[in-house]
Amino acid sequence: MNLHAIAQINSFLAALVLLTAFAMLVQRRINGLIHLFAWQGLFLSVNTAMIGFVASKHHLYISSLLTLSLKVILLPYILHVLIVRLKIRKEVETIMNIPLTMLIGIILVIFSYHLTAPVRELSSLITRSTLAVALATVMIGLLMMITRKHAVTQIIGFLAMENGLFFAATSATYGMPLVVELGVALDVLIAAFIFGIFFFHIHTTFDSLDVEQMARLKEGD
């Protein structure tokens, strides 16, 4: 497979990652969110494996496998089990309406494109143009956390940010050293367990997962 075709497939997968990020931004149903997150993880792991193949970096295969097992299988499964156990309502409300959110998402994409311009000029990798997409995914994850009122969507936004960061690592530098990748994966796993526990606590105490309920700590009342 020549380099040009690989670069094309890489761009295509990057576009798909961006598409899933936007789809998560506008999605109203929680099950749909989880599925989209799984798809995003799948695209990422395929991309990582492909880059590992092309650049002969075998530690990327391990990263790819980690992403696959963690973000495509384990985390969506945990989330799904949580939703079923806690009988969470399946729809999410948003703070602002969806077209406005999409517009802000587009602005963030343009912004990240400009922000990563210096890196793009200096890089010699075939994946350099996808760094903008990675940063955009991080920012869209952030936007998702801000504009949704539900604890589950905040967590998924957080995980989408991690996805974006992982993607940034592969596109700027062909992946961080393995020890760092493993550590980050460990952190994500621990975070997953923690938020699982959290949901139970929140649900028991507040009887809902609407984060608007958690607004009691204010100044000097």
Partner: protein
């Protein structure tokens, strides 16, 4: 060798305490583990003192004057906090605020937290630094919500989310740093080692490093509690058990600042301008002013002292940003004495709130009469923290002010304003608490007097006479941070 002991003991203690659970000896094991860590820390410090900076574990660990001093401080404060926690948490257990599982979890996570902090300090690999920082955050998240009240859960959730977001930005900054480093050092783990990076820092691309520093500032700055990224701090530090508030305020903030300063050194070496320093000064000054003015409005005692932590971290950040030997010396000294004084304050605050069964300052009164140790401890603690002589904080703040007048004179009025407002606010709030008659609902408790006395004595001694070894220690660190 020593490093292995230093890191291995907390890890082993965590596992052991997870098994021991809520039995009688758990707090004692906690104290012993922390004491062993402290002794190992002193051993390491002596080694570095004699021989200078050293690497270990095949360049995985790096110990120089800057981080070994923080390591010793961390292990010391965690030891004294463990002593305090024994009496305090027993009382909390009796009041029924924590259960069996909670105590088991508390002890195990306490040691894991210490392990994470020490790993963060001693590693040479910037990626592992990030991982350890995240681990430290994660191990304390569930501790903040230990009491399971609505406010505690809310505080823990905010802590989790906001710090998680912040630290994700820091990861992006680390990736960019690795990208710049790869060009010069080649691929693989060597490009993330701080020793290598500081050696080649002038060959790293300035544009990429500037961009990376912005992300690192936002990321690690969130963990330091700099305004405007500080929203999680007052909640998290006020809702958890008091020993946790003490270690979070006293230790974790220092470590986040350490990470930030390490990155700043690299960026300075690359850009050769005052870019990073200016950013740090801006954030630091903003934190000082906002925190000082927020102190006036507080009603909850732990919240008030958390804002005080924000202010002091702002001072330290400002000083590190200013740069130069005097300011850096002042900042290092400030990190030390603030840690000691703030944890001492939290010890007394914990006992005061236990005596009155509340954290509202309006309900706490008459501490001098009710329990002189707690009352006078709090009074001296506050005097120390607002920077009154002869306590150590006066020394460090004086040094920082001197450096400011010399290098950035226009900032001096703001700095003075912040310090002054904090002084007034804290005294205004603490005075009614310690003076006057003891209210009827106050109960007498046996307090853990050793930690408070120890810390305050140290702060006083450092203020009056800076020991020679400490002086030389700091000077070496200042040299390294040029």
């Amino acid at each position: 060798m020593i490093l292995l002991i230093l890191l291995g003991v907390p890890l082993f203690a965590a596992a052991l305490l997870a098994f021991v659970g809520d039995r009688r000896l758990a707090p004692e094991i906690n104290i012993l583990g922390s004491a062993a860590t402290f002794i190992a820390g002193i051993g390491l410090a002596l080694q570095v003192y004699e021989k200078g900076p050293m690497t270990a574990g095949g360049e995985f660990f790096f110990v120089d004057a800057f981080n070994v001093y923080l390591a010793v401080l961390t292990s010391f404060v965690s030891m004294t906090t463990a002593i305090f926690s024994r009496r305090y948490m027993r009382r909390e257990r009796e009041h029924g605020r924590v259960g069996h599982v909670g105590m088991r979890f508390y002890h195990a996570m306490y040691q894991l937290f210490i392990f994470a902090m020490l790993l963060c300090l001693l590693t040479n690999n910037i990626g592992v630094l990030w991982i350890a920082m995240e681990l430290a955050t994660l191990s304390t998240v569930l501790l903040v919500s230990l009491y399971r009240t609505p406010t505690a859960i809310e505080a823990a959730w905010k802590y989790f989310i906001l710090c998680g977001v912040g630290i994700a930005q820091a990861l992006f900054g680390t990736v960019l740093l690795y990208f710049a480093a790869e060009k010069v050092l080649g691929e693989g783990g060597e490009a993330l080692l701080w020793t290598n990076l500081s050696r080649v820092s002038d060959k790293l691309e300035p544009t990429v490093l500037s961009l990376a520093f912005v992300f690192l500032m936002v990321g690690y700055g969130t963990k330091v509690g700099l305004v405007p990224l500080h929203n999680w701090l007052p909640d998290a530090h006020s809702e958890g058990p008091t020993p946790i508030s003490a270690v979070l305020s006293g230790l974790l903030l220092n470590i986040a600042l350490y990470a930030l300063v390490r990155c700043k050194v690299l960026v300075d070496g690359s850009t050769h301008t005052h870019y990073a320093g200016n950013i740090m000064m801006g954030f630091g000054l903003l934190s000082i002013l906002v925190a000082a003015f927020s102190l006036l409005r507080q009603k909850d005692i732990k919240r008030m002292f958390s804002y005080s932590s924000i202010e002091h971290m702002g001072i330290a950040t400002f000083a590190f940003g200013l740069g130069g030997p005097i300011a850096t010396f002042g900042a290092l000294l400030h990190m030390l004495v603030h840690s000691l004084a703030k944890s001492a304050i939290f010890f007394t605050v914990g006992h005061a709130s236990q005596m009155h069964r509340t954290q509202e300052m309006d309900m706490i009164k008459g501490l001098f009469k009710g329990n002189p140790l707690v009352g006078w401890g709090m009074m001296f603690g506050v005097m120390a923290i607002v920077g009154m002589p002869p306590f150590g904080i006066f020394t460090s703040e004086f040094l920082i002010l001197t450096a400011t007048i010399k290098d950035a004179p226009l900032m001096t009025p703001f700095l003075l304003l912040g310090l002054g407002v904090a002084f007034a606010a804290l005294f205004r709030k603490v005075q009614p608490m310690v003076a006057g008659e003891a209210p009827p609902h106050q109960r007498y408790l046996k307090v853990a007097h050793v930690p408070v006395l120890l810390h305050m004595t140290l702060v006083l001694v450092i203020g009056l006479y800076l020991p020679d070894f400490l002086n030389r220690w700091f000077h070496t660190a200042v040299e390294l941070l040029k």
